[in-house]
């Protein structure tokens, strides 16, 4: 790599536009062969969820995502990297997180995007609370063991 790729990391309450972010990352570039985008959405199949409240640790959230992004840049030859994570109230069907990876080859872009998501899930300081549609008490989402397993495979 001749030049260091600078990751774009944002933690925000506002929604984001994946198409716009992809266009920004690739605009005017001729050295990107593969662009992988991951969007995590708020899911609610049985209609029981009114919304998620995403709490975060301001300052650490940005710093931790930046550290994970730097690790990805060390491991894979990436041409571009964008991570956006929202906080605050998020309703079913809405977007929560975006990871974009650009590389010469698709295997690098895919691996880096999966790595980033696995790490974000278990290391970025965000906590989800579920607000129930039927007025039942709010409940904190419990961490999933599978997420720890998913992260462990990158060691």
């Amino acid at each position: 790599m001749t030049q260091r790729t600078a990751p774009s990391v944002r933690v925000q309450a506002e929604n984001f536009d994946p198409g716009r972010e992809q266009a920004l990352l690739t605009h005017g570039r001729r050295n990107i062969g593969a662009l992988v985008s991951f969007v995590g959405l708020c899911r609610d199949e049985d209609g029981s969820l009114e919304s998620l409240e995403l709490e975060h640790y301001p300052g650490m959230a940005e710093a931790e995502i930046a550290r994970v992004a730097d690790q990805a840049l060390e491991r894979w030859p990436l041409q571009g990297l964008t991570v956006i994570h929202r906080f605050g109230r998020i309703r079913p069907g809405e977007q929560i997180v975006l990871v974009l990876t650009a590389a010469r080859r698709r295997a690098d872009a895919f691996a880096a995007a999966e790595f980033l998501m696995d790490y974000l899930k278990t290391r970025a300081p965000f906590w989800k609370k579920e607000r129930r549609a039927d007025g039942a008490p709010d409940d904190w989402v419990e961490a999933r063991f599978e997420d720890d397993d998913a992260m462990a495979r990158w060691r």
């Binding site: 997180v97 998501m117 899930k121 300081p125």
Partner: protein, 83 residues
């Protein structure tokens, strides 16, 4: 130093943050948890199961035996559920 609490740790303690001045013999994250647990029922409930508590020292993830002496800000929270 400043202590920050997030998610159900915050709810159980009833505070988002506070200034704390632990005694000199409290030098690790684990010892700080034990010291905080003795401050009241909310603290005891928050730290009842240390396996579910994560900590950060100056906004960097810290293990239970990490030193806290030079820390300005220590945060306690449950396992993360973002993404």
């Amino acid at each position: 130093m400043k202590a920050l609490y997030f998610a159900w740790v915050r709810e159980r303690i009833g505070l988002a943050e506070e200034d704390i001045a632990p005694p000199g013999e409290v030098v690790t994250v684990r010892q700080l948890i034990d010291w905080l647990s003795a401050r009241g029922e909310g603290y005891a409930a928050a730290f009842a199961n240390p396996a579910t508590i994560r900590a950060a020292v100056d906004k960097i993830h810290a293990a239970p035996d990490a030193p806290i002496v030079a820390a300005r800000e220590i945060a306690f929270f449950p396992p993360m559920t973002g993404g």
